[in-house]
């Protein structure tokens, strides 16, 4: 595809995002993904703060029943409340996982972690790679529930880990190491930018194929049971 085609495709995508039809529903989730995760993170933080504050208050009440706390005690409780709130608002800092951590993370959490890592790489990537990053993010989201029941030692799991836990981070890292000024300079007929886009395209396709492969047995089971019902009750 030429750049013009890309531009047209992305324009179509944004149009279907704005318009309310069903085909746009999937694509419409792209921009909201980052926001959704942010909301989720804030929610988690708020819960932590609430839990900490409530437990401090309960502890103060229990102690107050036995030994009167007095003014000093009340001040101490207030100080503790403020301290806990501030602490949990700042800590733990949200940080994208490093490639080293991706290699060790549990297979079930891997797609989500890879997605976060990929989001963090966005600023370093060229514009044509952005849509691909979005697409890979979507693919990874589809992959997450599929991996929930997968044994980490099966060939499929190993393949998934190799691709999204090792190859993808290594490939993007290699690109990032190339000095910015050289990224747009053609070398052996292709620019590093183009090579990145081609590679990401391949990875995106391969993740899609993995999803199809993992879904194979479920699809088979569905049609088998359908066929069984036909044999037993229809023929």
């Amino acid at each position: 595809m030429s750049e013009v085609d890309d531009a047209i495709a992305s324009a179509r995508a944004s149009w279907s995002r704005i318009s309310d039809d069903r085909t746009g529903a999937v694509i419409a989730r792209v921009p909201s993904r980052g926001r959704a995760r942010q909301t989720q993170a804030i929610g988690k933080r708020l819960t932590r703060i609430a839990v900490a504050d409530v437990s401090i208050l309960i502890a103060a009440m229990v102690i107050g029943w036995i030994v009167p706390l007095g003014i000093g005690g009340a001040m101490l409780v207030m100080a503790l409340l403020v301290a806990a709130t501030v602490l949990f608002a700042v800590w733990p800092a949200e940080r994208a996982p490093t490639p080293e951590r991706l290699a060790a993370v549990d297979i079930r959490a891997l797609p989500a972690q890879t997605e976060r890592w990929l989001e963090a790489q966005r600023p370093a990537l060229p514009a044509p790679a952005m849509t691909l990053v979005d697409k890979i993010g979507l693919r990874l989201e589809t992959l997450t529930p599929q991996l929930a029941t997968l044994d980490a030692n099966t060939q499929e799991a190993v393949d998934v880990r190799k691709l999204i836990g090792e190859q993808l981070p290594a490939f993007v890292k290699d690109y990032e190491k190339v000095p910015a000024s050289l990224r747009t300079t053609p070398r052996n007929g292709r620019t590093p930018d183009a090579e990145l886009v081609d590679g990401l395209k391949l990875i995106e396709q391969e993740i899609g194929e993995m999803t199809a492969r993992l879904a194979q047995s479920d699809l088979d089971n569905l049609s088998t049971r359908g066929r069984f019902l036909e044999m037993k009750y229809k023929e």
Binding site: N188, K201, T224, R225, R227
Partner: protein, 403 residues
């Protein structure tokens, strides 16, 4: 037995035919079994001529030429991998089907034991009066005999129920085979396309090399030694995988046919058993004026009729006849004996079938595992080619794959 009313023998003898073993499919004959659409064919041919023209235009020593040759090496790798992935699975199935110790086989053996216990032929002369210490008349042998039914009815009902679910399992197995065969058919279609592509490539490369012999002998040599050589290798790989897949496809059909026959057998075993028990009920009434109440069996009548829809009708019409005969015939015990004989015949037919089916299954599995082993080497080569291709993250613009 000569006087036994013929009406009872009316149902045709159960003949279960075991399918013949699947022969080995030669790679040379494997191609052409799955039809390829003419439109797809011409599309593939177009793709090949485009590829070959492009290849010839490149300088022999340039990396671009190398890349195109690599594409030939990887040609069909995906299709082969896909088809090979299923070859292991279809080897499991016949082996599982040969397992005699579980499911339907076990139930049938148990049913035979229970039925043998009730067989009137094995009880000696039932009409002779029973005597205490051989002298004093005591009770009726006949009455005791029919009491035996009451105690085994729960057991029989259980076995029949379990046969019913065994039959469901067989049907489920067949449904799974249908799905698998559909998948294999699709895989074979893609392999077939690749074989067509590969053979067209072979012919085109040969032509091109012959043309170049006069103008550019070096290039002709390079094309023969790389592109044409790899194309021929890939053709062989594809044909081998195709042969294995076709054989597996046929083997699955064998398993399915076996299951269908077995289902017939199970149906008939259930019908004949229920029919014998019904005969017993009527005979008991005729001979001893004893009202033999077999609740479990009565309850089963409806369920069995549902399970065995095909034979259910037969069962219904039979019951009426049995009733008539048992009540009027002078020899009701022989009617009962005949009913038992029916069960034995059915079970014998199943046993004979199983033995024969086991034989053809063994032959099939033997041939199939042989071929799968042979094709492993080719698959390994295909795998190697794919790995090499995945190593460089470049979206190849000249991918050679099925539609």
């Amino acid at each position: 037995m000569a006087t036994t009313p013929e009406t009872l023998n009316e149902e045709p003898g159960l003949v279960l035919t075991p399918p013949d073993p699947v022969p080995t499919v030669a790679p040379a004959k494997a191609a052409g079994l799955v039809p390829v659409d003419a439109g797809v064919k011409s599309q593939l041919e177009e793709r090949v001529s485009g590829f070959v023209t492009d290849l010839v235009a490149q300088d022999v020593n340039s990396p671009e030429f190398g890349k195109r040759v690599d594409a030939i090496t990887a040609m069909g790798a995906k299709e082969i991998r896909e088809a090979a992935g299923q070859s292991n699975r279809f080897l499991d199935r016949p082996v599982k089907a040969m397992d005699q110790e579980t499911g339907v086989g076990k139930d049938l053996a148990e049913l035979r034991r229970v039925v043998e216990d009730l067989d009137p032929g094995k009880k000696g002369n039932l009409t002779a009066p029973q005597k205490l210490f051989g002298i004093i008349p005591f009770g009726g042998k006949m009455r005791n005999y029919f009491d035996g039914y009451k105690s085994s009815q729960t057991h029989i009902a259980q076995i029949l129920k379990s046969l019913g679910s065994g039959k469901d399992e067989l049907l489920m197995d067949n449904a799974a085979i249908d799905t698998e065969r559909a998948n294999l058919w699709a895989a074979m279609g893609r392999l077939e396309q690749m074989i067509h592509l590969s053979k067209t490539m072979d012919a085109k490369l040969e032509d091109v090399a012959n043309d170049l012999d006069h103008t550019d002998p070096a290039k002709a040599k390079a094309i023969r030694e790389t592109a044409l050589f790899y194309t021929r290798q890939r053709t062989q790989d594809l044909l081998t995988q195709m042969a294995v897949t076709v054989q597996g496809y046929l083997a699955l059909d064998l398993v399915k046919k076996n299951n269908v026959e077995l289902v017939k057998g199970v149906d008939r075993a259930s019908t004949t058993t229920v029919s014998a028990l019904r005969t017993a009920v009527t005979v008991a009434q005729a001979l001893t004026n004893q009202k033999l109440v077999l609740e479990q069996i009565t309850a089963l009548n409806t369920t069995t009729a549902n399970i065995i829809d095909s034979t259910g009708k037969l069962l219904k019409s039979q019951t009426a006849q049995i009733h008539e005969q048992a009540a009027s015939a002078t020899i009701p015990l022989e009617t009962l004996q005949r009913a038992f004989q029916n069960i034995y015949d059915t079970m014998d037919a199943i046993d004979v079938f199983k033995l024969k089916a086991l034989d053809s299954m063994k032959v099939t599995v033997g041939a199939l595992s042989n071929e799968v082993d042979k094709s492993r080497g080719y698959i390994a080569r295909a795998e190697g080619a794919t790995q090499g291709q995945l190593g460089g993250p470049s979206a190849s613009p000249f991918k050679l794959e099925a539609m």
